[in-house]
Symmetry: C2
């Protein structure tokens, strides 16, 4: 059993919260109305990319030592034509620089909320969560904590690979926004 604190209670935050509670973990949410409390072993940034700045400013000390899952897709949502992070970096890598005492993991950004809730992509194939981080133990803790959630969890490599995960998240969002795919579909990984 792991304790999970989720910043943000939108579609993604709620879906991920259910995934972790389905697997027997203790999940709590941190919202704007929340009093400042101690955070769980795993902390999830399930707020839009621009809002993470504020979370880091408010909770920098509390985030030290924690496993952080960054699920953001740092799109320019006005144009849907680019990411707002530098092309040779990623949102997760930028957060890791700002939080050197935390264990930053990129994950859940390549899965739409509906596929986390149903545990299937397009109702057909088990949903895969891809994790990228330089901290192998952090990825293992997340993977163990999701055992029994019904999700397939795959180690996608070092934190550098967050760039490729964000590229997948980006392309997938453009495909859904242009109605090439549904919000219940998207990319999935086959072994």
């Amino acid at each position: 059993m792991t304790t999970i604190s989720i910043f943000g209670k939108g579609n993604m935050g709620q879906a991920i919260g259910s995934n972790f509670s389905d697997a027997g973990n203790q999940v709590s949410y941190v919202t704007h109305d929340s009093k400042k409390t101690e955070l769980g072993e795993i902390v999830i940034f399930a707020v839009p990319y621009p809002a993470v700045k504020e979370v880091i400013a408010d909770y920098k000390q509390e985030l030290a030592g924690k496993i952080i899952i960054d699920i953001t897709n740092p799109l320019d949502f006005d144009t849907f034509d680019r990411l707002v992070v530098p092309s040779d970096s990623s949102a997760a890598a930028l957060f890791a620089t700002e939080l050197p005492e935390s264990k930053v993991v990129k994950g859940f950004n390549t899965t739409f909320a509906a596929t986390l809730t149903s545990k299937k992509v397009s109702g057909e194939h088990q949903t895969t969560v891809l994790l990228a981080s330089d901290d192998a133990a952090a990825k293992e803790t997340i993977s163990q904590s999701l055992s029994g959630s019904g999700l397939n969890v795959v180690d996608a490599g070092a934190l550098k690979r967050a760039r490729e995960l964000e590229a997948i998240g980006f392309l997938q969002l453009t495909l859904a926004a242009s109605e090439k795919i549904n919000w219940t579909g998207g990319f999935d990984l086959f072994k």
Copy 2:
């Protein structure tokens, strides 16, 4: 019926050749031994990324006016840790700059050869070919030419999106090289 010229007769070139001939097109290969001939309406760069330079140098005039499909994954194969193209660009975008009179399309770089031959990823789900180009008519011609091939063809957007397609190809190769997935598996798209 479209005429297809494929540079390179490796696993990928042969698989893609079969896909186009299955769909009733006339396929020919251009290899180092080939005499210089007229090229088909669609030309496929199915040689490793570093070898495209030579193809362009040798065939620049013949490539004018043609639809070109760039299938390369421009990895640093020594490290498997980066792409060798600038992070804000793509192999396809670089080729388009060198071939302003050609219609450059990124495609087939996110599918392993085995999944093109079997038309299924992991034997389970129809293989999807993603196409990115600024030339909508070129993408349409390719899509029509593959009608009946057994492949699912999806328009992934403008040539800028080649960067994201190359990111997917890159990540997929690292996952196969590290034995997280098989060469019959990989990413597939669900509607």
